[in-house]
Symmetry: C2
Subunit: 340 residues, 2 copies
Amino acid sequence: MARTDPARAVTLTDVARLAGVSVATASKALNGRDQVKDTTRQRVVEAAERLSFSPNALARGLLAGRTGTVGLLTSDLEGRFVIPILMGAEDAFGAGQVSVFLCDARGDAIREQYHLRALLGRRVDGLIIVGRQTDPRASLGQDIPVPVVYAYAPSDHPDDRSLTPDNVGAGRMAVEHLVATGRTRIAHVTGEHAYAAARDRAAGVRAALAAAGLELVGDVMYSEWSERWGRDATAMLLEQHPEIDAVLCGSDQIARGALDMVHGLGRTVPDDVAVMGFDNWEVLTTNSRPELTSIDANLQQLGRTAAQWVFAALEGKDVGTGTEFVDGRLVIRGSTVPRR
Amino acid sequence: MARTDPARAVTLTDVARLAGVSVATASKALNGRDQVKDTTRQRVVEAAERLSFSPNALARGLLAGRTGTVGLLTSDLEGRFVIPILMGAEDAFGAGQVSVFLCDARGDAIREQYHLRALLGRRVDGLIIVGRQTDPRASLGQDIPVPVVYAYAPSDHPDDRSLTPDNVGAGRMAVEHLVATGRTRIAHVTGEHAYAAARDRAAGVRAALAAAGLELVGDVMYSEWSERWGRDATAMLLEQHPEIDAVLCGSDQIARGALDMVHGLGRTVPDDVAVMGFDNWEVLTTNSRPELTSIDANLQQLGRTAAQWVFAALEGKDVGTGTEFVDGRLVIRGSTVPRR
DNA sequence: CTGTTAGCGCCTTCAC
DNA sequence: GTGAAGGCGCTAACAG
């Protein structure tokens, strides 16, 4: 293991001493201030490199009031949503410029408070709160001393700033794609009715069908977000409505189950029946046979925007209030369009 | 959005003034030092609460030389391995006691150096480096001024401290389970030969078969870590070796493909053929029909141990050097044992 | 018991 | 150009 007792971290004082200047001069030299003779700067820089000096960001932050640090507080156990959001945020901040504290509250309000206190104590410059559903979540309140952006799960308070996928639009987009590929007898199998994501997508589906002069085959089928449900629902559908030519599923998991069952009942995808899902979870969509068309929620983009808002707010810009919706993106694969 | 210009964060000085004591006394009162009169402590605590004071961890860290902060530096894009490890680390540290910086180098050495500098500049107390394969990775070197533990991907330097899944043992464990359920004609379909995980598991498989007086059916089949390969390989296997009674797959993804193909060729799982995988990736294992037996790598445990080592090293304890292997855990589901 | 003093590492005035 | 001094918020050591 690396040296455990580092004697003492190297400080600006050490660099200054080695370069034979005062700390003030060393500071100026290293920070590109212009009131330093070139040769002096040279000496200081060399000394810093020789000691592999890295300035103490704590001391700097203490003085500056900025820490270059952001908290990402999530309740998304699996990391399925939070990871792309984290990556988007890193993109926006620039690697190494801003570091991100990632805390997982595990759906526990007490733990969330703990982490919140810890983050504020560490003087993060801003907070991004990531939920695991798109249903509004309880606001952290208005008296947090740093900018807060709610991502994925919007805040339930209108004065907060939130960013969430446009699931109504995603539902619409899905149906428009199916209609464009010539499908007219479309069913919708989705997850729990308790989830806004399920209800919103269904609303978009209905709207787009109406706009196309079509009707949904059967009712929207709500149940659990699982492959099992996808299989069961599809079996019922094909039994009751054999004329179906598309099963639009509320998630990629459900779609995988649907795909399975369509095959199991001797029909082909996409020729007899198109199947598509939502989320574009690649491990599911790119490994099925055929690969699965899906709507990607653009979470990385969402994370990038959230980070930009935090940043903008820090600079005193007004980023507004309320919830903004991020457009999804259609990813077409073999389950809706035959390879030619 | 929350208040953007916080005037100024509330400081111990504010609390002290409101309570009518000196900052030193306020500090002692809030930190449970015993040389404070009870009524005074009361007043200070009340003042702190009224102002919702939270101590500046930067200032504290500056003084103490400890920041209560750990860096988790990963190259695991998907977060599949890093998330359980992060959670284990949080468990070990205790929520709110230690905060974790999560940085994703995205497999880029330059970006890794950037993040490393940033983390050291922020004076993390320790580092956990998480790779995305179990193959040894380049050491960060011996002159990092804080304890470093390599998790999942061990370091290639013998003086570093590493923690990685015991894949040989996992392979053995898998075969022992299959043999215990009465299987004797076992094939092994796995991922890329370039991955130590694939080779190690295969070595364990061979060892356990030999110990049981059995032989592998055909050769170990190496190719890609995908469902597609699981399907293709299984089709070939059942064609060439129709006597097979178990397909042991190198990952859950491959196992899903195998399951698919066994069904597709009109055999039943687990009655005719048992199927099992590795990793216990629940979205795959618990949604198949039947559910998939797998070996869980105990990554959360791995994260917990890594964190404990960092912690121990910080307290000057010797945590040794070299690579330690974490045992896997057999998770039995319907794909190897029929429900009765 | 409480207050004063000093200093953690750094940066920013302000003299020289 | 360079150095000395002050202060960011906090705690430990020492006075009172």
